[in-house]
């Protein structure tokens, strides 16, 4: 019964996400792998938002039915509309031995991530920041209990964090009929897989080389911080999902900027709007991504109406803030007031933070030599093409690192060094997949004149 419920819950997530993705009106030939990957991200976002909104009015079976009917209805209606419009779904098969080898390698890696996920437990934060909320909501018939938010003895669970992941876990629990720490883990490996698929697809489109996309997708697996360390894909933290979502947002923004493609713009906007719903740091990423979007609108002379697509992100954040405040809490306690006197008082931390940042980046046990490679890729792109792509990638990858590092100046932890030690790697993870896109662009061989080397392959759907 547990497995049947779990399967139903996962299917509804994917069907709801499929509806949302197809509602953004893609082109006639849609990549099936891309559809599945986007459906996973948007499906989890949709279900968690519906559970939160529905939870204001219903609970238990009514809440479950409300969410299921809306998600299934959206999926079925939009899918039937898409078939009427003759949208075809294609899977681009490998065209050479190298591509086959890379595809098989990536498939094996996905299997390993699933296995690793089910063989290890939830990490500290995975259990005590996220799953704990899901458990309490499940015990309260699917609704986050009001007294939980005002319970000071559970402050260590960070009640202020938005509930994208916990409410998606609740969705599984409602269908399984029990809070189940093992099956809750089946949510996390798909985020890694979906993100890697999007990395491959975006890298293929930006470089016009399929092998570069596949190679990048295979290499990302070997960043230890993503697969073995705290914050990794197998431990049930939100950092991998948020990193992949940010990759999707900026990746599709680059595609939207190149071809003035409205579908890519909508995917960018929707991915961006989910970031503040994932974690508080998501708002920082949203602001940077929105700034990059403004730049694209300006440079590509897009309609200002496109900016309306950016509204759902801050709207979600504001409504969550209002909801949280109405529960009797006024703020979180990790950071000191962000004022000039605090900045002046703690300015001495800046060089230490810088040292810690560099020490973390060159720690090969955590990152292999990823950061030196990313630096070389950025310098290479700066050398070869100082274009809009480079500007966006540079701002979207470097600014979050600077902002995150700067925020430690305001850390309210008694031992702020411990705060850095415990969170820096996980925060750096947020831009890591996007930096792989930079690496992919730098991997593209330099163009040669007249002899045909370096000319693009036919583009993939």
């Amino acid at each position: 019964m547990t497995i049947v419920g779990l399967t139903a819950a996962l299917l509804i997530i994917v069907i709801g996400g499929l509806g949302l993705t197809l509602a953004l009106r893609p082109c006639k030939h849609f990549n099936l792998a891309e559809l599945c990957a986007l459906s996973w991200f948007f499906g989890t976002g949709l279900i968690s938002l519906l559970l939160w909104i529905g939870g204001l009015f219903f609970s238990g079976v009514f809440l479950q039915s409300f969410v299921a009917i809306l998600a299934l209805g959206l999926g079925i209606v939009v899918f039937s509309q898409a078939t009427k419009e003759r949208i075809s779904f294609v899977f681009p098969y490998p065209r050479s031995l190298i591509e086959w080898i890379l595809l098989i390698t990536i498939t094996v890696q996905f299997g390993i991530i699933f296995w690793a996920s089910f063989s290890s437990g939830l990490g500290w934060d995975g259990l005590l920041n996220w799953e704990i909320k899901a458990r309490y909501a499940f015990l309260n018939h699917g609704v986050m209990p009001a007294q939980y938010f005002s319970d000071t003895s559970r402050d260590f669970t960070h009640q202020a964090y938005p509930p994208w992941i916990p409410l998606t876990e609740v969705w599984l629990y409602l269908w399984m009929g029990e809070a189940h720490q093992f099956w809750a883990k089946c949510l996390f490996a798909p985020f890694y897989c979906a993100g890697t698929i999007l990395l491959i697809i975006i890298a293929c489109r930006l470089t016009s080389r399929r092998w570069i996309g596949l190679l990048t997708g295979a290499l990302i697996f070997f960043v230890p911080c993503l697969t073995t360390k705290p914050g990794g894909a197998q431990l049930g933290y939100v950092d991998v999902p948020i990193a992949m979502l940010y990759l999707a947002a900026i990746g599709y923004l680059l595609l939207a900027g190149e071809g003035n493609d409205p579908f890519s713009w909508r995917i960018y906007a929707l991915s961006l709007s989910l970031l503040p719903w994932a974690k508080r740091e998501g708002f920082v990423l949203w602001a940077i991504g929105a700034g990059c979007g403004l730049f694209v609108v300006w440079r590509a002379k897009r309609s200002l109406r496109d900016l309306l697509w950016l509204v759902p992100g801050p709207l979600t954040a504001v409504f969550w803030k209002i909801f949280y405040s109405s529960m009797g809490k006024t703020g979180a306690f990790e950071y000191l007031p962000m004022t000039i006197p605090t900045l002046m008082k703690n300015a001495f931390r800046l060089p230490i933070i810088g040292q810690r940042l560099i020490a973390d980046m060159i720690d090969v046990e955590r990152w292999s030599i990823f950061w030196p490679i990313a630096l070389i890729a950025l310098v290479s792109l700066l050398w070869r093409n100082r274009d809009r792509r480079f500007c966006i990638l540079f701002v979207a990858t470097v600014t979050p690192i600077c902002v995150y590092a700067f925020l430690y100046v305001f850390s309210g932890w008694p031992n702020w060094n411990t705060h850095i030690q415990q969170s820096l790697s996980r925060l750096l993870l947020h831009v890591m997949p996007l930096l792989w896109l930079t690496v992919a662009l730098a991997l593209r061989p330099p163009e040669l004149r007249q002899d045909g080397v370096g000319s693009p392959e036919p583009s993939d759907p």
């Binding site: 799953e131 720490q181 290499l219």
Partner: protein
């Protein structure tokens, strides 16, 4: 001339291959170490933690059984050393399972500003959970979970011992 035209391509390829090999060398040595699958249980994670911190592989079930015997509307007190990560984790696990009961945290090594540790009065809690801390010898009755977690329910608490 043709060789000169290919030089940047050769240099680019060489740099990519060298960096890729070094990256894979370090990355593969740290890559996923796959353990045994499962166990497929509802307390998959907390049981693993309980086994590590108190040596009881079914610690979650035992802890939950003890907590369920306590009244839901009364708080429980958790006594632990906050400087000790294992004790802190155990205290958090008790808090995790204690819902919907409020939890009174008593970190015994916490340095308070006024130098005085607030001590919860007996009528404020239904049981005390000693996480990695040995309770005073005169406290009875006791429920022992593994090696490190001792529960001392208040004698008149509704439900009492499981």
């Amino acid at each position: 001339m043709r060789t000169r035209a290919f030089l940047p391509l050769i240099a680019h390829g060489a740099v990519c291959i060298v960096l890729g090999c070094v990256f894979l060398w370090y990355g593969a040595s740290e890559a996923v170490r796959v353990g045994n699958l499962g166990p497929v249980t509802a307390f998959h994670t907390t049981d693993k933690y309980m086994k590590v911190v108190v040596g009881d592989p079914a610690g979650s079930e035992h802890l939950l059984q003890a907590i369920n015997a306590l009244p839901e509307d009364e708080a429980v007190a958790v006594i632990f050393r906050e400087q000790n990560d294992a004790d802190t984790l155990l205290a958090y696990l008790v808090t995790y399972f204690a819902w919907p009961r409020p939890v009174i945290s008593v970190p015994i090594d916490h340095v308070y500003v006024n130098g005085q540790r607030p001590t919860p009065l007996p009528d404020q809690w239904s049981a005390r959970f000693f996480c990695g801390v040995t309770p005073p010898a005169n406290l009875e009755p006791r429920i022992q979970i593994g090696d490190g977690l001792t529960i001392v329910p208040r004698a008149d608490a509704k439900g009492g011992m499981p």
